[in-house]
Amino acid sequence: MPIAPFAAGGAIALLGLRLVLAVISHVSYRCRQHKRTLVVLGSGGHTAEMMALLQGFDLDVYQPRCYVVAATDGMSSQKAASFEAAAAAVPPDEEAPLSNTNSIYSTPRKSSPHKSGLGTAQSAAVRRSPRVAAANRSKQVAAAAGRRALPGTRSPDSPAKRRFTQRPPPRDQPQQPQQAQQQYSLAVIPRSREVGQSFLSSVPTTLRALLAAVGVVLDHRPDVVLLNGPGTCIPIAAAALLLRLLGVCRGRVVYVESIARVYRLSLSGKILYHSRLAHTVFVQWEELQERYPRAVYAGRLM
């Protein structure tokens, strides 16, 4: 019984399915105004830089947002929760441009006095987010996000992926006409490699991290993936590539090298730069941009 015609038929069917998925994904992307965003938090200073970057985005456009943290990182999920709570509490500004280029990178709650090139106004980051309900709901969200989650699975109800949604106001209060829901979620994946871990033992842990990363990217289907840190970012970038090839998501990968890197890229930066897994590699010093011509220098975060 000849196998070739069946194999050819199967291949054509798969390609056809791939084409259909790609068309659906592209049409969906063009028709909607918001961009699904995946933010990978790399712990410590990397999280601080990512938060500084996020202050500049129009959060109405870059949503729904999913934050990915490493299983061993307790602080980053709290920082994400604080950021989201603060962003939800700021009143809307209809005059703001598409992406607010005037925002200063201090959160509304804790602004430190400094002079930036944009002027001395001690203003909080301006958002186009609509006003949401009670402030105590924001506190609940932050408290919920502070709980450590178990390593990732794809179920929406799994502890690993929690959706945090602003609850609409109680029934006895009048509903506000434009109650757009600001929504973010949190996913936890194992680190591919701990600091100082041997290369041999890194192989199974990296595979495990990669599987978890594929789960997260498949679940969230991001249009843009923001990376800046070690460990957790390579599996996510690889997962984004895989799912782009399958036509499941657009997954544009953006890597922002740490401001601490002046003359040399980090290992993650080098991998993403040379393999072209990232569509754009941002560097924060001109010296680094001269050395890596395909990288983009567009100012510093700090």
């Binding site: 992307y29 063009r30 028709c31 105004q33 961009k35 410590g44 200073g45 601080a48 500084a52 970057l53 996020l54 202050q55 500049g56 985005f57 456009v61 598409l98 992406s99 280029t101 005037n102 925002s103 200063i104 990178y105 804790k110 430190s112 006095p113 400094h114 002079k115 930036s116 090139g117 944009l118 249009d223 843009v224 544009r252 953006v254 922002v256 740490s258 401001i259 601490a260 890197r261 002046v262 003359y263 040399r264 980090s266 569509h279 754009t280 941002f282 924060q284 010093w285 010296e287 983009v296 567009a298 100012g299 510093r300 975060l301 700090m302």
Partner: protein, 184 residues
């Protein structure tokens, strides 16, 4: 706890790292004398994960003291926020972590950075060297710290202009929105 206005505080910070060598070199009578000669009245050490606790300047099991030369000395391991300590400082001596460096520069504080020699394969020293070259801070080793502090002239430091995410965001916007229908 707000120090009186005439206080000039030196704040030593190692962030969340372990940097015993820096604490050891600060915890010395000669260094305390250097500080007093340079006009400082208080020394606060944030020692992080150090195994070495200051024991030359401070009596055993005491966290604060006033020395014979008039210098007030205290230390602690961590604080929820170092912002208050930074704001009260006239000079910051910091490890070479980017977060600590930029927090001090943002507050326009005179800053001396000491890269940890045990982390020499770490890129941190690059950042300190670059910022020193641009005149925003002074870098020192544990051996040269006393000289650098004695010779520090804050008026010769160049204020650091803080960065802004707008440039990167604009790039990402154009990459992501480029194919989209423009909003109304």
């Amino acid at each position: 706890m707000v120090p009186p206005r005439s206080d000039r505080t030196v704040f030593v910070t190692v962030g969340t790292t372990k940097f015993d060598a820096l604490i050891r070199v600060v915890d010395q009578q000669a260094f305390a004398d250097t500080l007093v000669a340079a006009g400082y009245t208080r020394l606060v050490m944030q020692i992080g994960r150090a195994d070495y606790t200051p024991r030359r300047l401070l009596p055993p099991n005491r966290r604060t003291a006033r020395l014979h030369n008039g210098l007030a000395v205290e230390y602690f391991e961590y604080a929820p926020s170092l912002a208050d300590h930074l704001r009260a400082a006239a000079l910051v001596i910091s490890h070479a972590g980017a977060g600590s460096i930029f927090e001090a520069l943002r507050l326009r504080l005179p800053l001396v950075v000491v890269p940890n020699p045990l982390l020499m394969d770490n890129h941190q020293a690059e950042l300190a060297a670059k910022l020193e070259r641009d005149g925003h801070l002074l870098a020192a080793t544990t051996d040269t710290l006393a000289q650098v502090v004695a010779g520090l002239d804050p008026s010769r430091l160049v204020a650091y202009e803080c960065g802004n995410p707008a440039g990167i965001v604009r790039h990402i916007d154009s990459m992501v929105m480029g194919v989209c229908v423009k909003p109304m």
